[in-house]
Symmetry: C2
Subunit: 413 residues, 2 copies
């Protein structure tokens, strides 16, 4: 059926979520028989609730293409959680009202686990109210923790950033004629996919000596002993540490550090896991320390995006539009890896109810028990995802050229 298209972004930004946006917008414009106007929600579902939408129909096509190299969420993001519709229908009724007002018949929501839950709830509500609208979820998460899809757009680029940057940090960390322990903190609250990516640098001889993923309980005494032995052997140690590691009792490292150091009680700005681990280790292994947080850079470094990742993100966006026009709804578009042979992912549709609120972590048997790295299975999994560099357009001064959209507000028709 003919109508308008609405696209929204939600959750943490990535280097390639705007590539999916570009796919949706450009395919939407190409499908003028089914789609009238292309709208974007400002700050995801919050923009829908506030009737704060952009009309992207008249944007310059070249600028839309430049979204493929523009990091973060161009329309703004949110972390808004919809209520359970059985408890409170307010938000849903409002969403329906806005969809009716703007004749939204195709809705695409791009995000991670929480966003797929939002997508699922909206999809069910609209169906229950007999409002015809195709609802499709698009995956996005550097954490790579969405189930049902082989991997999620955003992961390959973050992994390429982490592997490359770890190689460079390693080169720097080994340079002096003295002992040193360098702890690099990597994102991932429950899943260690990103920390695992540091192991790819080992393939070049520039990787971490030890990796700690949140999938395995962080036994402090054992960790100290492991570090002590590794330090005694190598004298210059680099460690990849997930921000999400925690003890059997579920305590995160910064909490643990605060427990151990009574004087630090109430310190205003709590440091991260790497800072805490360094604080603990230096009580046991006297040497020079450095901690590094890869922070936002690991999710927004479009200049180091993986070409494979960018193209998959774009393809998922454009495929979602075609799938919706063909009648698909209440699905997430995921990626399926061929059983064997060359890596050439296929697109698959997953029912939203099957994927929302689940979490995919790293298989335990892919993590070497002595924390020294990942197994070949992980390399086989990850290497195709980080491959290739995008043909970045730079400004004449050598700095990145991000998309410049006009982002006109939607006017009443």
């Amino acid at each position: 059926m003919r109508g308008n298209l609405l696209y929204g972004q939600s959750g943490g930004p990535t280097a390639v979520i705007n590539a999916s946006a570009a796919g949706v917008f450009l395919e939407g414009l190409a499908q003028s028989e089914s789609i009238d106007r292309i709208y974007g929600a400002h700050h995801g579902v919050v923009g829908i609730l506030e009737d704060d939408l952009f009309d992207l129909t008249e944007e310059d096509r070249t600028e839309l293409l430049l979204l493929k190299q523009t990091p973060s969420s161009i329309l703004g993001s949110c972390r808004y959680k919809l209520a359970d519709p059985e408890v409170d229908e307010t938000d849903y009724a409002r969403i329906l009202e806005i969809f009716q007002k703007h004749n939204i018949r195709y809705f695409f929501y791009n995000g991670g686990n929480d966003s797929m839950d939002t997508c699922r709830k909206v999809s069910h509500y609209l169906a229950a109210k007999h409002y015809e609208c195709k609802v499709i979820g698009l995956p996005k998460t550097i954490d790579n923790d969405l189930v049902g899809t082989d991997h999620s757009p955003g992961y390959g680029s973050a992994a390429r950033y982490i592997a490359t940057t770890f190689m460079e940090i390693y080169q720097d960390a080994i340079v002096y004629d003295r002992g040193q322990i360098t702890v690099v903190e990597i994102m991932g609250r429950n899943a260690g996919w990103l920390t695992a990516a540091a192991s790819l640098a080992q393939l070049k001889g520039c990787g971490p000596d030890l990796l700690f993923l949140p999938e395995k309980p962080f036994n402090l005494e054992q960790v100290i002993e492991t570090c002590r032995q590794a330090y005694a052997k190598k004298r210059i140690l680099t460690i990849a540490l997930s921000e999400g590691v925690r003890t059997e009792e579920g305590k995160y490292l910064p909490e643990l550090d605060a427990d151990l150091a009574v004087d630090a009680f109430g310190h205003k700005q709590m440091g991260g896991a790497a800072q805490a681990l360094v604080g603990i280790l230096q009580q046991h292994i006297p040497t020079k320390y450095r901690y590094i947080e890869l922070s936002l850079m690991q999710r927004c470094s479009a200049h180091l995006a993986s070409r494979q990742d960018v193209e998959e993100a774009f393809l998922l966006g454009s495929s979602a539009v075609r799938a919706a026009i063909s009648g698909s709804s209440n699905v997430l578009l995921g990626l399926k890896r061929p059983e064997q042979g060359l890596y050439r992912p296929e697109i698959r549709q997953l029912v939203l109810d099957e994927v929302a609120n689940h979490e995919k972590t790293v298989p335990l048997d892919w993590i070497k028990p002595d924390h020294s790295g990942m197994t070949q299975e992980y390399y086989d999994y990850a290497l195709p995802l980080i491959n290739g560099r995008p043909d970045l357009v730079l400004d004449e001064d050598g700095l990145p050229r991000f998309a410049r959209l006009r982002l006109e507000p939607v006017r009443a028709q």
Copy 2:
């Protein structure tokens, strides 16, 4: 005169110091009429004192070329300070002994201010002992604080990293529908050149709202008020902060934070300037905060090096060999910018005594008094230095390909 060449690296690594090494090695190999063998000192002057030298004469030429894209100091670095020769001659006598043993007639030392002082002292000692050896210093510092040269290799690449990364962080930091203050900490203990580079991102509309350089005293009350006003106006604030900012009394931010927060007394691993500023600001401006340290990445990100910087570093290395063969000694090879017209730097020789132990800071009138940015003079200065991306050779898996040297120890002739 015919003899062997010795090259050493000292001080903090950069993305392009190995490009200078490549220039020295490849030109040294080409000058076989004057130069017999090419040696490298392991960990700079420490390797000389310990007779720990590499013989690079038989290295694969392609690998030597790959040094142009290999970050950090390939031979290892040091921070060793030679004694005043009038107080203690021991080290100098040892250096002379090693130079005689290995017939070193051309000595190149690549580093920053302290390294040029080492270079000067060695040069004078050898001359006083009538040992004929041409001694040339090669500049290297991301801090850009060497005097006499328009700029130092390493700065352009670090500046390109900082400007690009700030653009990406900015895109990420503005994404949510809520207030936030993001403080990005940038290296530079006394000179604000690197922090100034964040202002280049302003040219793309993705730059910091406020910059704090160490050249200007950091008046805490004024800073809080400036931030308060800027936050009231913009609600999402990004700040570029030099690690070296300090109060009129000379206190660095982490010291200041510890003073203010009695509970943090004795905290084991002191955080950086950004963490401290956030700790202070959040007592005055309630909002969400994030602090980011660009840490080692800003000095070792060869993947984001400036092509101009790489080529200048290489050219300085090869020019140093030619200059030494032509008889130059006791000089630093610096860069001179043409008075007008296209940026096309010339190489100039500076007497080591004129440059060692001085420090070049950012001109105060290039810093806008309201901390909102830099003047056009800075843009004109910096933009040519960050320009161009190197043609990086990647491995087939998409990760960087660093030089693989055999680094054979020097054998007795």
